[in-house]
């Protein structure tokens, strides 16, 4: 696929935003990358979600390295939470084939809104 100059500029500008968000907030860049892959590169949803990880992995690694360098990492809670994330990740991969995509999306959106409200107060 040949990208036009305009599309290259859109990809560069919005992925830079995703990178900044991921570094500043410690996550969340993936949502923007998935949207870019869907809207500009025209990938289907499941390809976009999978391919976004290729972008998010290196930018999460460099962000984590900066947090580590600046002494923001507390290893004990990090290791316990990581254990849960890895086991939950395997469960999520199995669930994906059994759950309707839109149901998962609505649950995800409601969890984010509830989380946002909780963090404000």
């Amino acid at each position: 696929m040949n990208l036009t100059a305009k599309n290259k500029c859109i990809l560069a500008a919005f992925s830079a935003t995703a990178g900044f968000v991921n570094g500043f907030l410690g996550g969340g860049g993936g949502v923007i990358i998935v949207a870019l892959l869907l809207a500009v590169i025209k990938l289907h949803q499941k390809y976009a979600q999978a391919t976004a990880l290729l972008v998010v992995l290196p930018l999460t690694a460099v962000s984590a390295a900066v947090y580590l360098w600046k002494g923001s990492v507390d290893w004990i809670p990090t290791l316990w939470a990581t254990l849960g994330v890895v086991v939950g990740g395997a469960a999520g991969a199995l669930l994906l084939s059994k759950l309707k995509g839109n149901v998962a999306k609505i649950i995800f959106a409601l969890v984010l809104i509830a989380g946002g409200v909780k963090m404000f107060f």
């Binding site: 995703a18 900044f20 500043f24 499941k46 290729l54 849960g84 890895v86 994906l96 989380g115 963090m119």
Partner: protein, 137 residues
Amino acid sequence: MQVFLLILFGFIAGIFGGMGMGGGTVLVPLLSFLDLPQKTIQAINLIGFLPMCCVALVFHAKNKLLKPVGIGWLIVPALALAVVGALVADSASNDVLRYCFAAFLLTVGVWQLIVAIKFAIAQKKQSRFDDNDTKRQ
């Protein structure tokens, strides 16, 4: 108790992450229930994501779901600004980071809800059209 909650919250966020839906955006608000500074929570989120992402990528590669078209245009600018973002986060207060994350969650949550509702409406219209088509035949 805190160890149990850390594993439980990690597990819940991991489920969304494993489905490729942004587990990180779920883990941060869950961890905010615990008595941890926002920067520590964000660091947990970043580091916890790394092993899960590696496993998921192996799985997606085996299923031929990776389409790295034009990916260089995404990775290079994202990497540069990720470092800048992490450095800015270091100089920001925990409260500022917490409110920024809350605003980000609300924005993405409302956006995703609108997308899901639009998709559901489009599917309903399509199934009605298919039903009418079947009756005509």
